[in-house]
Symmetry: D3
Subunit: 224 residues, 6 copies
Amino acid sequence: MSGVVVQNIERADAETVRRLGECGVATVHEVQGRTGLMAHIMMPIYKGASVAGSAVTVSAPPGDNWMLHVAIEQLKDGDILVLAPTSPSTDGYFGDLLATSAMARGCRGLIIEAGVRDVADLTKMRFPVWSKAIHAQGTVKETLGSINIPIVCSGAYVRPGDVVVADDDGVCVVKLEEAAEVLKKAEARIANEADKRKRLAAGELGLDIYDMREKLAAKGLKYI
Amino acid sequence: MSGVVVQNIERADAETVRRLGECGVATVHEVQGRTGLMAHIMMPIYKGASVAGSAVTVSAPPGDNWMLHVAIEQLKDGDILVLAPTSPSTDGYFGDLLATSAMARGCRGLIIEAGVRDVADLTKMRFPVWSKAIHAQGTVKETLGSINIPIVCSGAYVRPGDVVVADDDGVCVVKLEEAAEVLKKAEARIANEADKRKRLAAGELGLDIYDMREKLAAKGLKYI
Amino acid sequence: MSGVVVQNIERADAETVRRLGECGVATVHEVQGRTGLMAHIMMPIYKGASVAGSAVTVSAPPGDNWMLHVAIEQLKDGDILVLAPTSPSTDGYFGDLLATSAMARGCRGLIIEAGVRDVADLTKMRFPVWSKAIHAQGTVKETLGSINIPIVCSGAYVRPGDVVVADDDGVCVVKLEEAAEVLKKAEARIANEADKRKRLAAGELGLDIYDMREKLAAKGLKYI
Amino acid sequence: MSGVVVQNIERADAETVRRLGECGVATVHEVQGRTGLMAHIMMPIYKGASVAGSAVTVSAPPGDNWMLHVAIEQLKDGDILVLAPTSPSTDGYFGDLLATSAMARGCRGLIIEAGVRDVADLTKMRFPVWSKAIHAQGTVKETLGSINIPIVCSGAYVRPGDVVVADDDGVCVVKLEEAAEVLKKAEARIANEADKRKRLAAGELGLDIYDMREKLAAKGLKYI
Amino acid sequence: MSGVVVQNIERADAETVRRLGECGVATVHEVQGRTGLMAHIMMPIYKGASVAGSAVTVSAPPGDNWMLHVAIEQLKDGDILVLAPTSPSTDGYFGDLLATSAMARGCRGLIIEAGVRDVADLTKMRFPVWSKAIHAQGTVKETLGSINIPIVCSGAYVRPGDVVVADDDGVCVVKLEEAAEVLKKAEARIANEADKRKRLAAGELGLDIYDMREKLAAKGLKYI
Amino acid sequence: MSGVVVQNIERADAETVRRLGECGVATVHEVQGRTGLMAHIMMPIYKGASVAGSAVTVSAPPGDNWMLHVAIEQLKDGDILVLAPTSPSTDGYFGDLLATSAMARGCRGLIIEAGVRDVADLTKMRFPVWSKAIHAQGTVKETLGSINIPIVCSGAYVRPGDVVVADDDGVCVVKLEEAAEVLKKAEARIANEADKRKRLAAGELGLDIYDMREKLAAKGLKYI
């Protein structure tokens, strides 16, 4: 089912998205039962970026970035482009011109299971990208793909409109219909961690805070 | 044909080399028909370096850095060392002492399809290296290689005197005899991009700027 | 032999450990006959960290970080946690809460042949980690491992109490019983290098400083 | 959503499944628009196996094969087990005892994005497995996963009951609801290829059979 | 500690070694608490080989096979060569001439965390090799290594005289002093499995044979 | 320089090619100074094939096999197709139809730094392929490449007409102009090895046959 552009997709509430971004990847991943993570090969091109947005998905052929031009027209403020090639590629599908265009449409970042280039410029522009490679390799514009269909990107299933959270720990996908519930759990977890952090900083042990000693002994742990 | 040092190699004009460096890897790669790139595994040891120079090539055995000492004597101001091991290696062939020596000869950087070490020092010295690994692993000085013979380095064919351009996007090789022509095209491309960048920043779409809509429709793209 | 915690381990003299850290990974590795290095895939989560400490070893199941809680109780000031999973894993065993706890016990860093998360926080806390992956992937607490038994971590054999030196060049292990001798050789090597660095900076060639020309000629090196 | 076993899943018609298996992976993949393929790392443990079956999906923790025992109870004649770990693993989740049990339930094979062991026995039993590793590494039985939920296995999205086709070229997934249509196209393609094979064997060129010369010339191909 | 040949090493009883070989890698690995396995990248050059022997260890520089000649003199009937390079290599250290020589000394196979060549000949000779690569790449004879010192080979710690078991599932190391005890457990496990295999073949489920249902329910498994 | 088909290339003498093939990859690689080998990732799709032929080179875009149709017209009896993609790809460029066509033109095999499919059929047809992947992934026919230009294939520089030798040990390239000289050396080496094989089989040691003991002692080898 190649050659399709789905134009009107549902998106999560902007405030929900924003606050999911503040929770961060590790927390969001944990509270949704340790699901939704992309593989660890998806690395940010610069450290310190932390974003969340609604996925505009791109299925594109290897070494062909034509569909990115098509995708940019579909972007709304707060969106994140998520591109999976139809077969493995490390080519540089995206550079500073496309980033300029995407930013002009309100795009918050790019997740791409392939390569990216012009990373010095992208860093100056503060346009964050998570990719599996940095490479100058150019691409062609010959073969159709699709926009806003469900894709598998670096091991995660992503549907258009799903919330994508990305920071230095990687990329996590939250299902659109679960976004509010996940946010609630994530914020509760963070509140709960603040107290633990204090106790741990004061020298208390996780063994005691989490009551682990008995369970460890029951499993047979021996101290020598 | 191991054990040979070719001493007098031709080099490109210094001004051409300098300006190719300013054009950057992605542009240079594009204008020479998307050729000359090394593989994406060649990463800079620190971000932000951007250099160009004439290749002094080194073919060296795995885990043996003897030939680097031989190569340094052949360096002239503005050169870049390009080392390919004769079989795969991630050993640290090069560190701060060799960098000190190379810099004293005017060397602008090292491209090595193997490992490098002392990277904290090299970063302080601002001696840029593109390598496939960072590793402290030491090497021996037992077996001959060759200097200034054609080599294959990380997928690219490099002849002594070819121009090497390297930045955060990777490493690209320009044939010595094509350097002037490539520069001309690269500078033209950059001039041309400035206008497009402005239009894209103003919200115009690549679909329109590049007249893509008709071609996409002809290929069968469907909007839903 | 899983499910064992060895509690009283011998450690090297604190001053010896500190000075080994100052010598750095490349030097220490060289003077112990180019042994003790972990594989180059062990990369720091941020650049510029440079530490040494006594190894508290952790053998843990894949995707299970329970034993890290057990290990933290065993930490003394100046220790470094060294974790090897019992089968390959890139999961994020360790994050900011565990780091808070470890720091409260005087821990200087973590070496882990697996993943780590919360790296933005760890970077702010200046808690250095060398890992083979950065990944938010959460872990369980179900299966025992062992603390302070000999382990193989990323190709290096590590016994509890061995000195671990880590910097931007990787990670090197020094046998507890050889620490003093290795330090002596390392400091001698550094002293010796200072003079060479000056001569190389002044333009002298390694070929001359190390008397290589004759040996190269004997091997058959030809200058053309 | 871990810890769930979905018991009554829909399956494709047995005859459709059988004939899809005869069409083979490459053909099935082509006729569904080049979709549904798993990554090339999924290799058969022995050459020459060629199967199709209905997917019983298994989502299992890394290094924990407990859910395979749960899955086997859900198998019906003609099913194929498809296991994706919740984080990367090469452990040997499956060996000759589990294969004996699965075969007793009519299972036709295993697709596992992890490791398998006892491959000499599995080969003798002619129980085909496509895996990303062969490894004796044992697993635990401590943590729940789920059976018959949608999973991502080696880059492909697999829902319970989808048809899985596997042979020496890899593994392809056909959506349950598209199975009949895909079969029709696949058999048509095969019929069409027979004639082409004859003409090509007789020395006719693809350039002529597929009328490529004009299109190549239009693109600018030059003969020298 | 390079440049050492330890000549008189202890070996396990020949009958114990032979029977460990019959137990196979998966069983031996299991009964020693899931320890001793090399990484899954160590693959046999042909299928169906299954051997056990006493380790004669070789620590050799990258791309230098000199020490193999030294090692062969140390071989006794029933030994297995185990080579780990001092830094990563895929070079072909070993071919049919060395195999001829090793076989003349009673050697049963080679385990090498590097490359091997002449594999068509080795297969005809039925000299089994487990390696991480097959490659014709030649090596030099310039730098010393050591024979019969403890080494780390593909993640496993191997001491001279330890028993090495290898088959299609990989390679497992048994400590010399534990060989008799491990054999006892391994043979007991095999006896125990025979009954289970029968019951599973008859259609009984592992869920019942191993009494898993209650534990699964207690963990919260839900059937839908 | 894409979009070019060089039609009349020089080839080596057929008898020279045939005898180079009989010498095999390891020997040919050795006698040309250990040069010309492709990387070890190039594996045969079935064991036991051993071929030599004149290279018809193909430079093709990632995921686009159009140029293979163009290349087949250029084949002469005894040729071998050598394809390098212009950026990394594991797609299945080549299957049984193209093999049928290539065989009809006298082609002896395919060397491809990408993927191949229909390997069960290719094996039955005895059409040997060395590739870096086996994958059913289909390709498009949209973008030009070139035929019979120099390429870098898996680390080796290949010019049209160079002799390619391939067997279970990998792939080696012999420069057209050196083919006769390389053959002479290769056959001499083989003759020389026959005698050594006999002596080694009789129990003589390489240490003695190659007179290594003195040199080892001079390097400092110690027997304990």
